[in-house]
Structure formats: structure tokens, C-alpha cells
Symmetry: C2
Subunit: 307 residues, 2 copies
Amino acid sequence: MNEFDFINKYLSSKKTSSKFSLKYKDDVGYANNNIFSTDTICEGVHFHRDDEPFLVAKKLIRVNVSDIIAKGINPKFCLLNLSLGKNVDDVWINNFMKGIDSDLNFFKLNLIGGDTTKTLHNSVLSLTIFGDLKGKKFIKRSSAKKNHFLYVTGTIGDSALGLYCRKNPNIKIPKKHTDYLKNRYLLPEPRTELTNFINKNASSSTDISDGLYSDLKNICTTSNLGAEIYFAKIPLSIAAQRIIKENSQLKEKIINGGDDYEILFTGPNGLDKKKNVTKIGKMTGDNKINLIDFDDSISLEGYKHEI
Amino acid sequence: MNEFDFINKYLSSKKTSSKFSLKYKDDVGYANNNIFSTDTICEGVHFHRDDEPFLVAKKLIRVNVSDIIAKGINPKFCLLNLSLGKNVDDVWINNFMKGIDSDLNFFKLNLIGGDTTKTLHNSVLSLTIFGDLKGKKFIKRSSAKKNHFLYVTGTIGDSALGLYCRKNPNIKIPKKHTDYLKNRYLLPEPRTELTNFINKNASSSTDISDGLYSDLKNICTTSNLGAEIYFAKIPLSIAAQRIIKENSQLKEKIINGGDDYEILFTGPNGLDKKKNVTKIGKMTGDNKINLIDFDDSISLEGYKHEI
């Protein structure tokens, strides 16, 4: 069962599904004029024993920051749940907490509480994050408009390609490119500089954590629309272009790869005048996603978070 | 390292320790006119593989509800992080979610979001809960007054004795008593009927999750006061009285045992007129806890949450 199935089966249909949950159609919840997100990372699944704890801490904060800023809201407060496994020692905690401190300062976040426990095996780390609306609206996933254009920030697929490089150390591209991609996997950089721009201009928005295709599908399904996107227009880093040239099957990572933490949003024409924003297609009235310029032989199932 | 050491080492002393964290002196955080708490329970540590998932779910909600109502505030919203281990199947999830639904209804809570992930080994379950102040104050742990009296709700020690019964199935007391104690361990019953009473009357308050001695020590330390309590006045259930008669060493569980989720609070004289509230001592000006009527040979280290 993946997370979407879980939500459909246990949450959306229940009377406990209140207006505050946005019917679980979004990555965030809304209560008392605040927007909330929470994400968990598990050792052995989302991070690994030999990862730098300093970077693990930053990743934990950043995957959550990403969810909120994609709504056009700056996060301000967080709570931290650390369930520490048997591989964790004082040195690990010390470096992990340095990463937490560093990103609390960087994103101007207040850590207001948390819980620390021990597990018998691996570590499980959760952060809950929120920011207040202060009279502003927030940009939902479900509010895309027909004929609005589709935009992405940054470059797409780097993180999944970085993970691929990590698992395939013998790949024949220059080290500077593999280092770039691996770093994109290890350290997401939420587009905080675009928060207000998204809030002001986007009709719908989500971060790209499950993969471009899967997150686009979420916008389409919840907005009851379809989309067409041009593969050739999807912005790729130089490193990504280089690795795809080497192995064209890796094109699939651009579409299906997760963990980019860029923003996918819809809006009127012309929003790509902003640096770091690229138009990749538009919303349509039929309920399907049409991917133009793409090799038909490559699967488009979308990355699914198994639970 | 236990949780108190962790907080001292990594949190209280840092500049990231803001007023919103209440300097980590309380079980809750305060932000945007809301009071927050979060607690995690780990399989193999706080619950076990063969525990009823329906009850595990309720325990997860109730340990969090307990924190907020001890502040005299009703919780209203929550987020659920499920990191599900390899022992979890669809039947388990189904029964777990029935327990969640049941307690969301019972406590009038709105589930506004969450995250579901998979772990490689055991399950780790977190809930973050909050309620709004609506112009009311909330009762801190650090605001006890000298010469105010100490009160507890319900009966103390049942949960730790229940865990003892579970681990020692051959104990010679009638089954109705062991069943009562084991049930108190499995299913906390937060004193929601006393939320407004606490808000109106208490000068300081905490739930008893770490054990009476340890939680009293927290009130004393954060309030810069001492306390004297009378062991003979601590309210015990009939089952607890019976098991202690059988084994007097178990008296220690009354003082050190955790997981009661009753409320320990301070206030002026006369608050024990309320049903289910018992006066057990008073706050003093010196920085020590004086436990009167107690057997000196029994350790009073206090239950510590190892992390």
C-alpha cells in the first residue's frame, strides 16, 4: 500500500476528515490561521548510517520547509521528534544538532518543542513545521485553472540522478558532475526566495518530492484537470544532461525521480520571466497527462512512496 | 543520556531557544496563540508487537492529550506520523486506524495532516497535538508558588504496577486486580473533565508521565522551589494497595513509576473538594523534595526517559 492508497482508504472517506485537513488533498493542513506540514525520514530508507548527520539534520528541516514555501508561506515554527537508533552515539547527535541549529538560523525557524526516544534498531526522525498566514491566502494543490501554464523552479531530476550515482559509483561521467548530483540528493535547497512570488502569482502549487509526473498528477487529480508538458522544455542541470547523454534510459529519472524539492506551479502566461522559473507546459480540460517529446518505451508510473 | 540531559546540552543553552519554546522548561511549546505538544511511541520500547493496535492508537493520542489538558487547555488539532515496521500488516493498520478514529471522535480532535513511511524494523509512531488559547492563559510547570498545596488527580502508580504485572504473570493477587492495573498501563485516561478546573485554579501543573517524583522535581526545579509530600496521602487504587501489601518493595513504583497520565498541580488550599483530586503535600522555599512517611531503604532516583 502506498501513501495515496492509505489516505484514500483510511482518511479521505472518514467523517474525521474535516475542512482543516483540506480533505488530505494537499501536503499541508490548515488550522487556526496556520499552515502545517510534517515529514519523517527513516534510517536505511530516506537516509543512511554513513550519511553526515549534519546533512541529515538539514535534509529533515528542508523537506519540511519545502512543503510550506510551495504554498507561498514562510514557515516559522517547528517541533522535532528524534527516535534514535542503536547506531547513534554522542558524536552523531552532536553533529546532527549542529545541522539543526544551522538551519534553524538559516530559515529563521523557532524550535518550540519535541520529543526524544530510543528505538531498538534504526533511527526515525520527524519534523512538524508551520507558519502563519497573517491575512494572506495560501496556494493549494487543487486550485489549478484550465489553460494556465505549468512552471517549475530550478532544475529537475538531479536528486534521483544523484542517488543513482551513489548506487553506481562506476558511472563514466566526470566527478564534478556526479558530485553535483549527489549533493543535490543530500542537501535540498528550498526556493525560499520565491515564496512571495508563488503566493502572489500561482493558481496552484506543490513541491516536487514524489517526482514531477506524480506531483503533476496530484495537481491534475485534485484540480479535476489534465496537463500537457514538453519533455524538451524541462530544465536540466549540465550534470543531468551529461549523465543522460551517457545513458538515455536515465531520462525516466527526470519524470519519475523524487526528492527534488523544487516547486511545480500553475499560473498565467509570463511567470517564467523570473529567474530560475521555467515554463514546461499547460493545464488542459481533459483528465490525462500528455507528455510530449518523450520516449514511449520508458515507464511513467510515477514514484510512489510505499508505506 | 536521558531527555533532560539532552535538553540541557543541545537546546536550553542555545540562541535558538526562543520564548516560544518556553526555554524547554515545559512539556509544551507556545506559538501563535496555540499550545503544542508532541510525543513518540516506539515498538519494543513503549508498546509491543502483540499489543492490540486499537489500544496502541489510543495510547498514542492520549499521552499527547494528557500534556495539553495538564495546561488547562483543550487540544483540538493533531498531525500523525506513522513509520510502519515489518511486523505491520493491513489488519494491524486497519485496527490501529479504528483506534485513531475512535479517539479523534472521543476527544473532538481534528486530524489535519501527517506522514506515512516504512521502516526496516520496528514501528515508530508520533503525534503532534495542539489547542488554541482563545484569550485564556495556560498553566506552566514553572509557576508554582511557595506554600501552595500539591494535588494529584486519580490514583498514582497503577500504570507502572500494571507493567510489573505484565512482566510477572505469577504474582499472587486476584486477576481482577492485575487486570485493572494492566488496563491502566495500556489505556491512559486523561482527565479532560478537569481541564477548566485546572485552568481556573492551578498555579502550576504537569501530567505525571515520568513518575510522581520526577515530575514533581520538574515543577520544583523550574519554579525554583522545594516540596514536601506525604507518602500516606498519595491516593492508591484498591488494586495498587493489594499488590503493595503482597510486596512492599513495589511502593517504589508509586513514587518512580511512569505513564500514569494523571495531573500533578499546585494551588491554594481547598482544591481537593473536587472529586478525584487529592492533596498530597505543599511547596516549600528550600530546594529539596522531602518525602514524608516513606521507607528510606527504597531508591528515589525517579524514572528517567533514556533517549
